[in-house]
């Protein structure tokens, strides 16, 4: 059962040893404006396969705007994104979003049962998850036996776990995490964080995670970038990025 959860060999992916050898996602001079407001300004970045990158910066710095460009929820004004060396404009948006999964700040679950939420992504490309696969996904996020539960009755932490399992159901190559614990209480936050650390490590997933919590960034990420006023102003170790961020305030 567990084998269905681990990342299966996929012809779209390069060989995975050593895991940090390949650039999973790259941005080239990426910019995004809304009206005359520049939200992301000329950001160039490489994220290697299996790497967990923390994105830090003050409120309104453009972190979420940057993340939304990576799975093309918004269109860059200029520049582009490469997924394993391929310009993402050459990939159909639905395929791209399946390969570059996203967990948002709020869970945004669809009304109905937990299982239906997990089935949603795979069903979009004609795949129907078996009950055993649903249960395995739920086991992975610590929600065994929740398949039939109505999402209406879930706590904030449980809903965010379902949101994570829903994203994992698509077997993404890259996972974008937009402050997935910021709307939770401290206990739920620590639980989700532990879960994320384990899943990212077990599955060698490439991840980009926005966080306001410097301790969390230090615990989860291998590397960090600091974004301010839409610009990438630091790229390096988590500790140095956090130090650079503290000098902004």
């Amino acid at each position: 059962m567990i084998s269905t959860l681990t990342r299966q060999t996929d012809s779209r992916l390069p060989p995975t040893t050593p895991s940090h050898r390949y650039t999973a996602i790259e941005t080239r001079n990426l910019s995004h404006s809304v009206g005359d407001k520049v939200l992301v300004n000329d950001v160039s970045l490489h994220v290697r396969q299996g790497e967990v990158l923390a994105i830090v910066g003050p409120n309104g710095a453009g972190k979420s705007s940057f993340l939304r460009l990576l799975n093309r929820l918004d269109e860059p004004t200029s520049g582009t994104v490469l997924l394993y060396g391929h310009d993402y404009r050459e990939i159909a948006p639905r395929d791209l979003r399946r390969r570059v999964g996203m967990v948002m700040q709020s869970a945004y679950l669809f009304p109905g049962a937990v299982a239906e939420n997990l089935r949603f992504g795979p069903r979009q490309h004609g795949q129907d998850l078996a009950p055993s696969e649903i249960e395995a996904l739920l086991e992975q996020v610590g929600l065994e036996g929740f398949a039939g539960r109505d999402v209406w009755h879930l706590s904030g932490g449980e809903a965010q776990r379902v949101s994570l399992a829903r994203a994992l159901a698509n077997q993404p190559e890259v996972l974008l995490l937009d402050e997935p614990t910021s709307a939770l209480d401290e206990r739920a936050e620590r639980e989700i964080e532990a879960l994320l650390t384990r899943i990212l490590s077990d599955q060698h997933l490439t991840a980009l995670m926005i966080t306001h919590d410097s301790a969390q960034a230090a615990r989860i990420a291998n590397r960090a970038i600091l974004i301010n006023a839409g610009r990438l102003i630091f790229d390096g170790s988590v500790q140095e990025a956090l130090h650079a961020e503290s000098t902004l305030q």
Binding site: V34, G35, R94, Y108
Partner: protein, 266 residues
């Protein structure tokens, strides 16, 4: 009382118009005493209403005695005017006039065309224009209601919609619940009209026919025909406009552009 004061029919009708308008203004001024300022809007609406309806009356005088193509031309003009009005009521959706125009032209045009072809509506201008205009007005209201509801649903569910897109779903799949809500909301007035027919109200066509001396049962059956056509028009235009509008709230790369429009307007 007025018919005792005025013998000349034109003078009598003018007095009736002035009396009705004065009564409406009195209501507006009474509302003002409650702090509700309607008088300016009421005055403008009354002047606009009488001007428009008199112009239509003059046009009808010309069209009713003219060729049949004139009535088709007049109905086409009404459809275009309806499309402009419906578009003005819907905010934040780019290219909305295109959506309202196609929806009303196809929706109302289809129902009018089928009804005329089947002989349910007489093609004589005296029947076609008044009945056609009712269908067009209903198509306009339905389009405006459906689009406004759809926009509001999408704006208040951007999170769910983008969560669906982020999971690789097609735009049509993620907005399906909101299309359903918009269609239902927009055709409820037409369903209510059918339900309450004869119980709560005697609609205009029947009232007019009875006033003109027609048999009430015949007038009632024709009224049912009109209300059923109104329902058909509402359903058709609601389905069409919610289908056409989808391509205007998503980009070619399947991004929710309505979200950006709302952010730009803030």
């Amino acid at each position: 009382m007025l018919n005792q004061l005025f013998n000349d029919p034109i003078a009598l009708r003018t007095a009736q118009v002035v009396g009705a308008a004065a009564f409406a203004l009195v209501v507006a001024f009474l509302a003002r005493r409650q702090g509700i300022h309607l008088q300016r809007e009421a005055a403008i609406a009354l002047v606009r209403g009488i001007t428009q309806i008199v112009i239509v009356g003059l046009l009808l005088t010309f069209v009713l005695g003219g060729a049949q193509w004139l009535s088709a031309f007049l109905l086409l003009g009404m459809m275009l005017a309806g499309a402009v009005i419906a578009a003005r009521r819907t905010k934040h959706i780019p290219g909305i006039l295109n959506v309202t125009t196609r929806s009303i032209l196809v929706g109302a045009g289809l129902v009018i065309g089928i009804m005329v072809a089947l002989g349910i509506i007489d093609r004589a201008p005296a029947t076609l224009i008044p009945v056609g205009s009712m269908l067009i007005a209903n198509a306009m209201n339905t389009t405006a209601l459906a689009l406004d509801r759809f926009r509001a649903e999408v704006e208040s569910h951007t999170g769910q919609i983008e969560a669906g897109l982020a999971l690789g779903a097609a735009p049509s799949a993620v907005v399906a619940p909101y299309v359903e809500a918009a269609v239902q909301a927009s055709i409820i007035p037409s369903i209510n009209s059918l339900r309450s027919l004869g119980i709560v109200w005697i609609p205009g066509v029947m009232a007019g026919m009875v006033l003109a001396g027609s048999d009430p049962v015949l007038a009632a059956s024709y009224q049912f025909v009109v209300v059923a056509m109104l329902f058909a028009t509402a359903g058709t235009t609601a389905l069409l406009c919610t289908m056409f509008v989808r391509s205007h709230v998503f980009s070619r790369a399947e991004q929710l552009t309505l979200r950006t429009k709302v952010r730009e307007s803030k």
